[in-house]
Symmetry: C2
Subunit: 193 residues, 2 copies
C-alpha cells in the first residue's frame, strides 16, 4: 500500500519513477486516532491531507455548539479547509478522524515546490479541484431543492459505502437535520404503516 497515492495520481497524469520519488519525499505520514484533530477553528490550514486509510470529516461548529459536516473524506480522498489553505489565514473549520486513520500530508510551501519541479501536478490538482466543484454544485442542487427524505436518498445513492460505515448522527449533520429527526424519518421509511 506504499504506492496508494502514486497510483491515485497516475490515474490522472503520468509520472516518471523519479518524479514519483520526489512526490513521496514531500509527504509527511502520520496516524490519527479517532476523534483527534488535524485542524481546529482559529488555526491556519498549513497542509493538504490525503487519506490512506480510515475516514475524516470537515465541519463547522455553529454558535450553539452544533456540528455541520461539509465533507467526508474516505480512503483516496484529499481534504482541507480550502479558504484557509489558499489565503494562509485563520480558518473557521475543523477536520478530525471519525475512525483511526492514516494520513499523508504536504505542506503548502512543499506543494508549491512540487509544482515547480513537476508541472504535471498542476493538471492533477486542477482535475481534482474541478471534480470537487462538480460535486459541490450537485450537492447544492440537493440541498436547495430537496426535502430531508430526498436528501437522505441522494446521499445513499451517491455514497452507498459511507451509509454502512458512518454513525447516524454524522449523516444527520451532513444532510442538515437533527439526529432525532433522522431517526424518526428512518423509522417511517421502514414502517410505512
Amino acid at each position: 500500500m506504499e504506492d496508494f497515492l502514486l497510483e491515485h495520481i497516475r490515474r490522472h497524469i503520468t509520472l516518471t519513477e523519479e518524479e514519483g520519488k520526489t512526490v513521496l519525499a514531500a509527504m509527511r505520514r502520520r496516524k490519527l486516532k479517532k476523534k483527534h484533530f488535524l485542524l481546529q477553528e482559529g488555526e491556519v490550514n498549513q497542509s493538504s491531507f490525503f487519506v490512506v486509510s480510515g475516514i475524516l470529516r470537515l465541519y463547522s461548529v455553529d454558535a450553539n455548539g452544533f456540528e455541520h459536516i461539509i465533507q467526508f473524506a474516505a480512503e483516496g480522498w484529499w481534504i482541507s479547509d480550502m479558504q484557509s489553505l489558499l489565503t494562509q489565514t485563520a480558518g473557521n473549520l475543523y477536520i478530525d478522524a471519525i475512525e483511526d486513520s492514516e494520513i499523508w500530508q504536504v505542506s503548502k510551501p512543499d506543494i508549491d515546490l512540487l509544482y515547480q519541479k513537476i508541472p504535471a501536478l498542476e493538471r492533477y490538482f486542477r482535475l481534482l479541484a474541478e471534480n470537487a466543484v462538480a460535486a459541490y454544485q450537485q450537492r447544492f442542487v440537493s440541498s436547495l431543492s430537496q426535502n430531508a427524505k430526498d436528501r437522505y436518498a441522494s446521499f445513499c445513492r451517491l455514497y452507498p459505502g459511507l451509509i454502512l460505515q458512518l454513525p447516524q448522527k454524522h449523516i444527520a449533520a451532513y444532510i442538515g437535520v437533527t439526529p432525532e429527526f433522522l431517526s424518526k424519518m428512518l423509522n417511517q421509511l421502514n414502517n410505512p404503516s
Copy 2:
C-alpha cells in the same frame, strides 16, 4: 475592453504576447439577451463561459417548477455546469442571463488543445477551481449552520455589489427562501417596531 480576459488571466499567470493571441483565437464571442439560455436541463454543457459584461445565473428547477440558484456570475467570472462539462453527459442545470450580457466561451475540445499549447493555463484554471472550492465550502457553512436572516447577512457581506443589482426574487432563490418570506424578513429588518 478587448483585453479584459487576458488581464484576468495575467493576474494569475504570465502569458507571452503570442500565447495571449492563441487564447483569444480560441474564444467565441456572443451577446446574450436577458432571459436567454446558455444551457438548459438535458443538454450537454459543451463550453466554459466567461462573463465580459452583464450577469448570469446557474440554477436548477425542482419538481414543482421552483428555481434554486447555485451561483451567480458577474463580470470577470467563469461559469459552467461542471458535472456536465467534465463528463460530457446531459446535465440537470440551467444557465441564463439576468441582464443583457456579453459572453466569451471556449469549447471543451478547444480548452484541451489550449492546455497542450500553453501548459501554464493548467495553473490558471487550477487556481480558479480551488477558489471556487473555497467559496462553495464557505457557502455550505452558511447554508447548513445559519438561519435565513443570517444567510441574507452573509450574502450582503460577501457580494455587496450584487444586492444592489439583483431583483429580490433571485436573492431569495440563492439563499434558499421564498420571495414572500424574504420580503417579510426585509420589512422586519427595516421596521424593527
